[in-house]
Amino acid sequence: MDRIDTYPTHVYNEFNMRPGRPYPFGATPVPGGINFSVFSHHADYCVLVLFKKGEARPFAEIPFRGMFTRPGTAEPFWGDFRIGNVFSMVVFDLNYEEIEYGFRMGASQPKVERGKPGLHRFDTSQVLLDPYARAIGGRDVWGQTPDWDKPYPHRGRIVYDDFDWESDRPLEIPTEELVVYEMHVRGFTRHPSSGIKHPGTFAGLREKIPYLKELGVNCIELMPIYEFDEFEGSRTHPETSERLFNYWGYSTVGFFAPKAGYAATGSAQDGTMVADELMTLVKDLHKNGIEVMLDVVFNHTAEGNEFGPTISFRGIDNVTYYMLTSDGYYFNFSGTGNTLNCNNPVVRGMVLDALRYWAAEYHIDGFRFDLAAILGRDQNGAPMLNPPLLEVLAHDPVLAKCKLIAEAWDAGGLYQVGSFPAFGRWAEWNGKYRDTLRRWIKGEGGLVSELALRLQGSPDLYASRGPTASINFITCHDGFTLMDMVSYNDKHNEANGENNNDGANDNNSWNSGWEGETEDPEIKTLRFRQVKNAFALLMVSQGVPMLLMGDEMGQTQHGNNNMYCHDNEISWLDWNLLEKNPGLFRFFKNCIAFRQEHQVFHNRWHLHSQDYMGSGYPDISWHGVRSWQPDWSEQSLMLGFMLDGKHARGGLGEDNSIYVFTNTYWEGHDVELPRLPEGQRWHVFANTGAPETEDVWEPGTEPALSDQSNLFVGARSVVILVAK
């Protein structure tokens, strides 16, 4: 039976219409037409602007309030398609594939000039992007120089959201079993060495799924994939005249649209196809047991401060969407010019709608929130004890099984690692884990007690949440790669064109004896060992490990610790390294497999340092050069720990016991091993001090130690043993 609301009630010029539905916001195909719905608290004038795809001038402008006629009559009457503060109408007979749309908004306030402060920034000469646009045209092919004179550069497109997921659903892998691989969609496969058909795209990433499977990760975290403008802040390097881009994309143009330039199908300018390509990627990753997490940027937008471009939010309802000072300047807690007004109830609703959309329509498994501390600030910027947005996300029914991860600090000085308002649900990027591990690996003293906490999942920070609240990482996109961390003392960001002033100065890195590239075999050997030491410790820590794309093959950025602007061979993953450094890849792969095989690393709750299973060993015990005698002194550069197999998963699992010893001293030491129960012997899984052919074993093939009571642990080495 046909719906009775598929018939027009209003006519404007040649367009047939009827009042729309406020929900859902955005442009939604309905039988016979498209429902357009947009919120503005302060606009009293709103016009739908329709373009034929790519054309500079609109082919229609249809008011949401104005004079209409009834079908078949010529008599004008006043019509008002507005409920509350939402303008909504259905326009019939539009070819949804052919059109791009936007809005004009106006109010009685005087226009505020660019560069001047102002609470309201309505300007009816501007066509505005729908904040809920599910596809956005204008940057369809990455790096293709836009026509700067073309009005309305970022254009809403319609998505026909009927993707056939078949039986796919988010994987819901228990958080404690995740191994996260942080990656940049374009950088992962753009390098000519990737050897695939569609470099730099979602489709290209899909071609590399077998590689991810082989490495053994079960979750990829994608750096921003919401539509952004790679030309934002684009400039040429003053000396090299190379074009610098917004390569990372931490600057959102639209929260509901995937980055078209990341889709191999982007050039077709078909929003639905872009969505299909990304959904197909997610579906295939799920088929291969790999979750997809998105790095989302809800703290600010691409509109910048009062000098920035008017794209969407500021022209639709500036005072609602942004945190403003009382005289109309933008608060800048994000360090990028503006701050999204996340704890305004309407904006909170938009954030929630966006996340639900990605979880429900794209089957996304989790989210990592960039500068998440901002999400806990009130509308004047003050941190709140119980931020409603964070609470809403923690308890939302659609997001209930999604992983929620906070980057628990912001550019306004709020640092909440360990104290982020978590509502029992939020995990955090553990910056303290990163700093402690880096300092330990370079050989700093005075750290052994803190190291013990970090290896246990930081119970000092996450007492009530358990180790799964701790996303452990040593490197991420922001900073050195792992190979650079052991090759450079200082950042070398000259290529960024900011006189090396950008990027962090406290890298906690050590160059192993020479700054930068060297052919010195001893230094090179030490660097590889240090990389392995770092990764081995990451893989035996309680909590959720995350590694940076390329670290498994020794990717270098030549000492640059802030690659945000480079779309070139420094930032792209060089797949040749896989052939150059096969031993490194083998080490990483086996360490991941080892972690996944052993439940003693998968504790949901903190360890107790007690034997509550009657096994004769505490769940975790600490050791030094003499077993059972850890050296907690300031000078100590060695620590051993044993995880008891009978206490795996809080005693619910059954596993082998594992012994780990880390020595950051510049000399090797004989280390006494804890005695095992009758019938068990120590086998060596990894020994970074051994020659490369013997520094790691495939899980299950570990050789037994000939001496079960003592082991020589080499200078700056990590040893991992398994009891069998």
């Binding site: 070819n95 949804y96 594939e97 052919e98 026909y160 489709a203 078909d270 196809m273 299909d276 197909t280």
Partner: protein, 121 residues
């Protein structure tokens, strides 16, 4: 840049029933408008156990609506215990179908002869 021609296509011009089943020849571009017309022509042919070859060799372009039309024809026919084979897909179309996940649903053959063999099995 792909220019989209919104001229409505008259599909199925070469449609003929062979002893093995139906061959539907399509020509032109399949977008949101023409996809509906194609579907209207094809669906009546989807009788229980039907065998259908869709000859795509003259299809220069398919939009996301075209891809959807194909999938819904496939669903309809396989739901009727029928069989559908695509033939003559250009490399570009095959690539688009692969990137968007549609290719995996279909049996694709390079020539009509091979397709006839497949559907007569």
């Amino acid at each position: 840049m792909i220019e989209i021609d919104i001229e409505t296509i008259q599909p199925g011009t070469g449609s003929s029933t062979t002893s093995q089943g139906t061959v539907v020849r399509l020509k032109g571009e399949i977008d949101a408008v023409s996809a509906a017309a194609v579907q209207q022509k094809i669906l009546p042919l989807s009788v229980p156990g039907c065998r259908m070859i869709l000859d795509m060799s003259k299809v220069a372009y398919m939009s996301s609506a075209g891809l959807r039309m194909l999938l819904s024809v496939y669903r309809q026919i396989s739901g009727n215990k029928g069989k559908v084979v695509l033939v003559g897909l250009s490399d570009e179309l095959k690539e688009t179908m692969s990137m968007t996940g549609f290719l995996g649903y279909f049996t694709v053959e390079d020539s009509l002869e091979l397709a006839l063999q497949v559907i007569s099995q």
